[in-house]
């Protein structure tokens, strides 16, 4: 306000200052701003206002006293962070979080692209539609049901366990979820099954907007199907791929806790316990609010860092980025 007043003294500058331009724009696109208002309010009310609650990570939060009146934690409020860094589980949680999410990323990120490319090559319309429906159906099953099914399939008498046991890969008398080495594969493969079809849709829509003339030109130049894919299709949908990748990298540290909680058991915590499940146990089960908030905040900071870095790198390498 002060700024705009001061600048207002010099009319030509006011036209170009931020506030001046905003004012002008507000007048010009009144209705657009009006329509934007609810969205802005939504973000303020549900995304920004609750953020002040994050300060409980630096306090010893006592619900009945409220957030502001709760006493500050020791070590200048950093007690819970230090506790976490010194915890015996710190290394394991970070390792598991990274292992699970990076493996998951490596497998489930390219898979929908490949599926989309393959579907794109299917000529038979009805067959293509059927395939698509089949692959994205699991997306509509709730996570709880999916995990219930997975648990049954890999139980000691489940069909997957029995199938693998016949091939001599696993012990047919044991549930696969009781073996710590199988957790990551189970998690990743079931995730692939659940998400591949749905995630392919976005690439399919990107593929449908590729200019057909480009293919024509490529064919004239003598490119075969494979070369067309490499030189026409992929570059055309690169922007979509990069965008999806950056978004995915942002959630590397945010392995979905619902699925892990539904699948894991204390016997395999060694490979399955991740930061978010730890936060869940600490915060919701043990009511250790401040500690859980500190761990969660730490997690978010790393996520933020990862998104920014991923964006920078892709911008450098491909000249494309989110911002």
């Amino acid at each position: 306000m002060v700024k705009s007043k001061r600048k207002g003294a010099a009319p030509p500058a006011a036209q170009n200052s931020y506030w001046g331009r905003l004012k002008k724009d507000l007048k010009k696109n009144k209705s657009a701003y009006l329509m934007f208002l609810p969205v802005l309010l939504f973000y303020l009310a549900f995304c920004y206002k609750p953020m002040y609650g994050v300060i409980i990570a630096f306090k010893n939060f006592v619900p009945f006293k409220g957030i502001l009146a709760s006493p500050w934690a020791d070590h200048f409020g950093m007690k819970h962070f230090l506790d976490f860094f010194n915890s015996v589980y710190f290394g394991r949680l970070i390792r598991n979080t990274l292992t699970i999410s990076i493996t998951n990323l490596l497998v489930t990120f390219p898979a929908p692209i490949i599926l989309a490319l393959l579907l794109n090559e299917v000529g038979h319309r009805k067959y293509k539609g059927m395939l698509q429906t089949f692959t994205y159906l699991p997306h509509f099953i709730s996570m709880v049901v999916i995990c219930g099914m997975v648990r049954m399939f890999v139980d000691h008498d489940g069909f997957i366990t029995q199938m693998l046991a016949h091939m001599g890969i696993v012990n047919g008398k044991l549930s696969m979820l009781s073996n710590k080495n199988y957790f990551v594969p189970i998690y990743v493969i079931s995730g692939l099954w659940q998400t591949i079809g749905w995630n392919a849709i976005i690439y399919l829509s990107a593929l449908s907007s590729v200019d057909q003339e480009l293919y024509e030109a490529a064919r004239i130049d003598g490119a075969n199907r494979w070369q067309q894919t490499i030189h026409v299709t992929l570059p055309s949908i690169m922007m979509t791929i990069i965008m999806m990748l950056i978004l995915r990298i942002g959630s590397i540290m945010g392995v979905g806790h619902e699925k892990i909680i539904l699948l894991y058991n204390p016997g395999i915590y060694q490979t399955s316990d991740v930061i978010s499940t730890y936060v869940y146990r600490k915060g919701l089960l043990e009511a250790n609010w401040s500690y859980a908030a500190a761990v969660g905040l730490f997690n978010s900071v790393i996520n933020m860092f990862l998104v920014v870095t991923a964006n920078k790198i892709t911008k450098k390498v491909t000249d494309m980025g989110l911002w």
Partner: protein
């Protein structure tokens, strides 16, 4: 409800009486009527000066101008499929008519939801919750956090005289319902009889034992031999079936630890000294025995992933022949489900020992005050009134209502013997006795009353025997009392304990499954030390000393 007079009348009478006697001091005197004042006074003279009254004013029900209060409790599976809230149940309605209060229920689904409710800071006036188990730091901390309204002795004497009677009769109980600064934190669930404090142990197919010519096992070796026989001769796929939580619970409750010279895998007290059971060298022997059962396929190989339903199903169908559980919820449930199966029988056995005829060192044994406490919160505007409501469970009528339901509906008294009615035993709507009593009484959970298990509608003779066997041990000697951790240690203590138990539980599973060799036991103990197990012991020791001094 002896006296048909209101509280106010009573108090004015008492004031008059006390004035005449010239003895009114503060809010002390609470006499029934002026007549008895003199007698009581002379009695008081010989007692210490702080117990200002030994005779208490009775609360008359229904309480006049009782009003409304909000009551937070967990939704109980025992009735939640048929009713939405506690005040819609026959017992809830009866409580409202009898006490004159209007309950406004706030139900939450589980402990998680309860923790969220607490975090919201918007508390109901009354809260029934197992603070000891699920609130960080227990009742002591809840009082400190400003959640629970701490009741002074005088407050309780004045507003909940029957509760005061129930807790003051036994100095041990009084210790258990107090915080370290001497206030009473809430209305406790008190276990009324010794046998009800146990009721948890090994449960096995005694019909198989009989058929195979085996005595009920007493030692670890006999138990092992029995499992082998079950597997080889009875074709039990998983002779000893239990899930990992139960396995850890079994070790903590010392069900199978005595043969190896270990009291239990939990914290216990030996001669006033706190001992951490799960870091003792003997625990290694217990684990290697469990590992042996696992390796030989006697213990269910899938114990870490199965659930309660699977355990039950295995026990019912003969896939398993032995498990661990409670005498009612587990054994009773199995027996009643399979009551029409001709060759099916279960027995509860004494906890295992090293030599035949020994008394087990430990077993499941509850403190007098256990589980859910019904506390008045600081949101409550009229704690005096609400205390009168909560007092009802400790009166004679309330005792019967909370334990057995409504006379003439769920039971009838004949010659001092309680007979359950047809409503319970042969319910016209096809409900089980458990379901009916859950609607008319509160015996399905812990509440503001003294439990009473004198009469039972369906207790099998075998359960009665099992109860006696389950309690036949020295647990009383070693049991850690219901201590309170001081406020300054609470945070440290709970975070240490939660990390330690996570680690311990994980390692127990690994040792039993042989994923971690028992040669690594020393490493395990070293890790416990580095995680601060000694500090836990120190804090507990302080709490035990403080408790003994109360």
């Amino acid at each position: 409800m002896g006296k048909k007079q209101s509280i106010r009348k009573g108090i004015s009478l008492l004031a008059a009486g006390a004035l005449v006697a010239g003895m009114l001091s503060g809010c002390g005197g609470k006499e029934d009527a002026a007549k008895t004042d003199v007698a009581a006074k002379s009695k008081e003279g010989s007692q210490s000066s702080e117990s200002s009254s030994s005779k208490l004013e009775k609360v008359t029900y229904p309480v006049k101008d009782a009003g409304k209060f909000t009551y937070g409790m967990k939704l109980a599976g025992a009735w939640s499929d048929r009713y939405d809230s506690f005040d819609a149940l026959p017992i809830g309605q009866e409580l409202e008519t009898r006490t004159g209060f209007d309950m406004d229920m706030v139900h939450v689904e589980g402990n998680q939801a309860m923790n969220l409710l607490l975090a919201s800071g918007e508390l109901p006036d009354v809260l029934a919750y197992n603070f000891q188990a699920f609130y960080n730091g227990g009742e002591e901390k809840a009082v400190q956090d400003g959640l629970i309204y701490p009741m002074s002795e005088d407050f309780v004497k004045e507003n909940a005289p029957d509760y005061w009677k129930a807790i003051s009769e036994n100095p041990d109980i009084l210790k258990q319902v107090k915080t370290s600064d001497g206030n009473i934190y809430g209305f406790a669930y008190i276990i009324g009889d010794e046998e009800a404090k146990g009721g948890y142990g090994l449960t096995l197919r005694d019909d198989w034992c009989e058929e195979l010519g085996l005595d009920l096992p007493e030692t670890a070796d006999e138990f092992y031999d029995m499992l082998v026989a079950f597997k080889e001769k009875k074709g039990a796929e998983v002779p000893f079936c239990l899930k990992s939580d139960t396995l850890i619970e079994m070790l903590q409750r010392g069900i199978v630890t005595s043969p190896f010279g270990l009291v239990c895998a939990d914290n216990y007290v030996d001669d006033g000294k706190v001992v951490i059971g799960y870091e003792q060298p003997e625990f290694k022997d217990v684990l290697s025995w469990m590992n042996k059962l696992y390796e030989e396929g006697l213990l269910d190989p899938n114990f870490s992933t199965i659930d309660d339903e699977t355990v039950k199903a295995n026990m019912l169908t003969g896939k398993a022949g032995a498990s661990v559980g409670a005498v009612g919820g587990f054994m009773g449930n199995l027996l009643s489900t399979n009551k029409d199966v001709a060759d099916y029988s279960l027995a509860g056995i004494k906890n295992l020992v090293s030599n035949k005829g020994d008394t087990p060192l430990y077993g499941h044994y509850n403190t007098d005050v256990v589980g859910i406490v019904t506390a008045i919160t600081n949101s409550c505007k009229n704690p005096e009134d609400v205390a009168k409501f909560l007092n009802y469970g400790y009166t004679d009528e309330g005792h019967m209502l909370y334990n057995y339901g409504i006379e003439g509906k769920t039971y009838d008294m004949k010659d001092d013997d309680l007979k359950f009615s047809d409503l319970v035993l042969n319910n016209p709507d096809g409900l089980t006795p458990q379901q009916v009593t859950a609607e008319y009484a509160m015996s399905y959970t812990n509440g503001p009353f003294v439990s009473d298990s004198k009469y039972s509608y369906n207790e099998d003779e075998r359960q009665t025997v099992a109860k006696k066997r389950f309690i036949d041990n020295d647990a009383k000697k070693y049991k850690l009392p219901r201590v309170t951790i001081t406020a300054e240690d609470t945070g440290e203590y709970s975070s240490l304990v939660s990390e330690l138990t996570t680690y311990r539980d994980e390692m127990i599973v690994k040792f039993v499954r042989g994923e971690e060799s028992l040669d690594q036991y020393d490493n395990y103990v070293d890790t416990l030390k580095s995680m601060g197990v000694d500090r836990v012991k120190e804090i507990l020791q302080g709490a035990v000393d403080e408790y003994n001094k109360r």
